[in-house]
Each structure stands twice: as C-alpha cells, then as structure tokens.
C-alpha cells in the first residue's frame, strides 16, 4: 500500500466511492416500475422537509417572539406550520406505500429501520415545536405532556416545562439527529436502489427492467 493509499482521506474516499458510485448516488434514470405515483411521496416528504427547514430557519433568524407581534412573522410561522403538516401527510403515505411494497426486501431492512426511526424522531421534533410557540397551546400541551414523560421517569431530562431546553431541543438537538437519519436513509435508498415489485405470477415470467433501460422517472 502506498503512502497515499494509507491516508484516511484516501481510504474514506475509496470506501465511499465503492459503496456509492456517483451514478448510483445521483442517478438520472430509474427502473420503469418507479413510474407508480406512490414513489412521488418520498420526494415530496423531502421537499416538505426542505420548506420546514427554510421557514424554521427564518423564524430562528428573527427570534422566538417575532411571530406574535408582526404580520410577517405570523405568516412565516404559518408557512412553518403548514409545511410540517404536509411533511407528515406525505411521510405517512410514503410509509404506508413502502409497507405495502414490503420495501425491506432484498437487504433493504436498514432502509426501513432508518426511515421508521426518522418518522418517530419527526414526531418528537414537531412536538417540541408545539411546546416553544410560547402561547396558550404551548402552556396546555406542556402541562398535559409532562404527565406522560414523568410517568416513565424521564420528565426531569426531557422537561417540557423548561422553555429554554425545549427551544434548544427543537432547533438544534432533534434536527441534528433527524438530519443524520434522513441523510442515512436517503444514502441507503441510493445504495440498495428502490425495491422491485414482487416476483409473483405476472412478474416472474419477465425480468424486472433495470436502469438504464427504464424510462426516466422521479425517484
């Protein structure tokens, strides 16, 4: 092994390239069966997440009290709310779609696992968002939710009555974890590819068309 090959940067690059060649990481074609409408919801979930991050970023830029007193702030808060609603709506359809496709087949179990954890993490992240609105909803939700967390002994660490802690959970801690999970999930999708149809009585007779023969469709 040469000195260059022993360097960690070279080893990491080689390993990454082997695991995810550029045409697999950023494909421009997908198998023909990806033409199904259900595949749109994975991309739609990511698109909604992007809108969530941008609108949340603007709210963070102006500070947590901005949207109570300014029409502009209230509008950005509304964008943040509705993008979250769309994020969950598209993600739940994506999840059900992947369930009925048994998308964990063909060494794709980890893709399912990371996606499911990201779904649960999204629920926690959105929940902390409701706690840091600093309005009546925050008061009511936090005083109700404390009982659930306290009942299993974690309420002092995940203290929903502590506005400062919840704000940091919402804008730093949870998005970091969620971002890591989402990137991991997407890279696994790229590495393993989308799950092919069940090879049942119809498909068994004909091999599933694979890239690059398939038509160009969204993934």
């Amino acid at each position: 092994m040469t000195t260059e090959e022993r360097m960690w940067t070279a080893r990491l690059r080689n390993r990454a390239t082997r695991a995810l060649p550029p045409d697999q990481l950023l494909p421009d074609r997908q198998p023909a069966y990806v033409a199904s409408w259900i595949y749109v919801f994975g991309v739609a979930t990511l698109a909604a997440l992007l809108v969530v991050l941008v609108s949340g970023g603007i709210l963070a830029l102006e500070g947590p009290q901005w949207y109570h007193g300014s029409p502009q702030g209230h509008f950005v808060n509304s964008l943040h709310l509705w993008s979250v609603e769309l994020f969950f709506f598209t993600m739940v359809i994506h999840l059900w779609g992947k369930f009925f496709m048994a998308a964990w087949r063909g060494h794709r179990a980890m893709t399912w696992v990371t996606g499911a954890i990201a779904f649960l993490g999204s629920i926690g992240t959105a929940f902390t968002g409701y706690l840091v609105q600093s309005n009546f909803d925050s008061q009511w939700i936090s005083t109700q939710a404390k009982d659930g967390l306290n009942s299993v002994g974690v309420g002092a660490w995940f203290n929903v009555l502590n506005y400062g802690q919840m704000l940091l959970f919402h804008v730093v801690l949870f998005p970091l974890v969620l971002g890591f999970l989402v990137i991991w999930h997407v890279l696994l999708v790229r590495r393993r590819g989308v799950v092919p149809p069940f090879a049942d009585e119809a498909a068994a007779a004909t091999p599933v068309p694979q890239a690059p023969q398939g038509e160009e469709v969204a993934s």
Partner: protein
C-alpha cells in the same frame, strides 16, 4: 414529452412550496395568547384563591405529584410493580407552600398586616398550620362559587389574609415575575408558574372550551380548527378507552404500549407474520399496476 428525474423533483418541490404558501395564506396559524398568573387572578379570583390555599395546605396536584417535583414514596405512576415515575428521582424539587405562596409574599415588605400574618403562620406548628389551611380549604369548597367573601366564619388563622394578599400580588402582575425569577437574572424554565396555573381549573376550563381536554383528544389538537398533531392519533386514542381512560397509571401504561408498538414499527422487517401482510393483502398490485400489466 416526459420529464427527467431532476425536472420531476423540481416539480414536486414547487408543488409542495406552492401548497404551503396557499395553506398559510388561506388558513394562517393559531396564536391564542398565553395565560398569565395576573390574567388568571383577575378573571377567576375564586379559583386562584382556592388553588393558593391548596398549595399552602400541600393538597394541590403538584404538592401530591411525587417525582420529579415532590419526594413522596407513595405517589407516582407505576407500570405493574415498577414505580417508573419514582426511578427518575426528585430532580426538579418544588415546595408548593414556600415556592408559590410564602416565598413571593415574603418579598413584600411594605405591608405590616402581611408581615404579621406571615410571622404568625411561620411561627405556628405544622399541625396548627394544617388545621388552618384544611379548615379554610373546606370552607372555600362549601362557599357559594368558592367565593372567599362568602366563607363561613371559622378559625382559619392568618390563611385568608395570606391568600388575599397573594391574589393582590398576582393581579398586579408581580407574581408572574416572582415565580420565574427564583434562580437569577436570565430565566428559561417556566416549570413553577406552569405547575401553579395547571393546579387551578382556569387553564383547563379555557382548554376544554377549545376542545383540548384529555378526553377530547386534546393532546393532538390545538386551538381553533387546525389539524394540530394529527400524527399523535394513536397515542391519544388509548386515553379515550378503558382500561387506560379509568386507570391511575394511564400515562405509564400508554407510554409502555406506544414504546412496544414503536419498536414493532422499527423492527417490522424482522417480525414473522407482520412482515408477510403486504404479500398477503396484495395491495402492491395496485401500486405496481402498470408494471404487472406490461409484464403480463
């Protein structure tokens, strides 16, 4: 002409962004202002006084809560034989009489009657204090509308004056600052004012009027007709049905159940039976309808 992968991704992003903007413009977002202690004291003085006496008496929801606020080995929810709530320890200690009533009143130095009442209360034995607060709490409960002005005469010691002065302090807005400023200049922990407000009925009355009660699927809703956290429907669902709806350990039971269900979701690919549902239900033939038609 068919779109490329990149064009379709951009189109999806465009649609989602446009939908977000349209929904935000048409529906906006809820922002019902937070309730302050001052607002509570002004709008529901009888409830405020009743709650303050319960805090002094040690019979309020917070005073009898157990961990993480109060050291009470008999309090707290259990999961079967496991006292999970107690396992967390008392990491956010709250002395409701001192923190919510005596402490704030002790900062008022310009009121001789209050100073005298405080001295009398603090100089009394625990049994005497308990007798005063218990008798006054009972009398308030029996008074029309729980009105302190209509309480029957009795030996309540300095308790009525203390409760009345706390009401005055709260009405002036002073108590909001007092409960928040117990640890220094910068504050981010609203535990004490929130616990105090939640011990009364005013907050819950407001919430129930907005259909946010625990038996109204309240955890997943928000003020107004907004969808709220619809994704919490399963968590909220368990609270609506027995045995959870009538259990003293409902939160621990629901949390344990949701942990098991969440684990099952994550590990679905490895669970025999569950992982075979997609093949058995054949919904996939609808998803890949085009594929199966072209490959027939």
């Amino acid at each position: 002409m068919s779109m490329t992968t990149r064009e379709r991704r951009s189109a999806v992003l465009g649609v989602i962004t446009l939908l977000t903007v349209v929904l935000a413009v048409v529906f906006g977002s809820p922002d019902k202002h937070a309730i302050s202690l001052a607002e509570w004291a002004r709008n529901a003085p009888n409830d405020f006084v009743t709650t303050a006496v319960a805090e002094l008496d040690g019979s309020s929801g917070t005073a009898t809560y157990g961990a993480p606020y109060v050291n009470d080995p008999t309090a707290g929810q259990k999961l079967g034989p496991l006292p999970l709530q107690r396992f967390g320890g008392v990491r956010e200690p709250v002395d409701t009489a001192q923190d919510f009533v005596i402490g704030p009143l002790s900062t008022v130095t310009s009121d001789p009657a209050l100073r005298s009442a405080l001295a009398r209360y603090q100089g009394a034995s625990d049994d005497q204090r308990k007798a005063w607060t218990g008798a006054y709490a009972d009398a308030l409960g029996k008074a029309p509308d729980n009105d302190p002005a209509k309480v029957a005469t009795g030996d309540y010691g300095p308790v009525p004056l203390l409760a009345g002065r706390l009401l005055d302090l709260a009405r002036s807005g002073g108590l909001d600052g007092q409960l928040l400023s117990s640890g220094g200049f910068y504050q981010t922990d609203y535990a004490k004012p929130l616990l105090f407000i939640a011990d009364g009925t005013y907050l819950e009355d407001q919430a129930r009027a907005e259909h946010l009660g625990g038996d109204q699927w309240g955890m997943m809703n928000e003020t107004g007709g907004y969808p709220g956290q619809a994704w919490l429907w399963l968590y909220t669902f368990w609270y609506q049905i027995p045995p959870f709806s009538s259990s003293d350990n409902a939160d621990a039971l629901v949390w344990a159940l949701m942990m098991v269900l969440s684990l099952a979701l994550v590990l679905l690919p490895f669970i025999p039976g569950l992982r075979s549902i997609p093949r058995a239900t054949r919904v996939y033939r609808l998803i890949w309808r085009e594929h199966y038609r072209t490959n027939r």
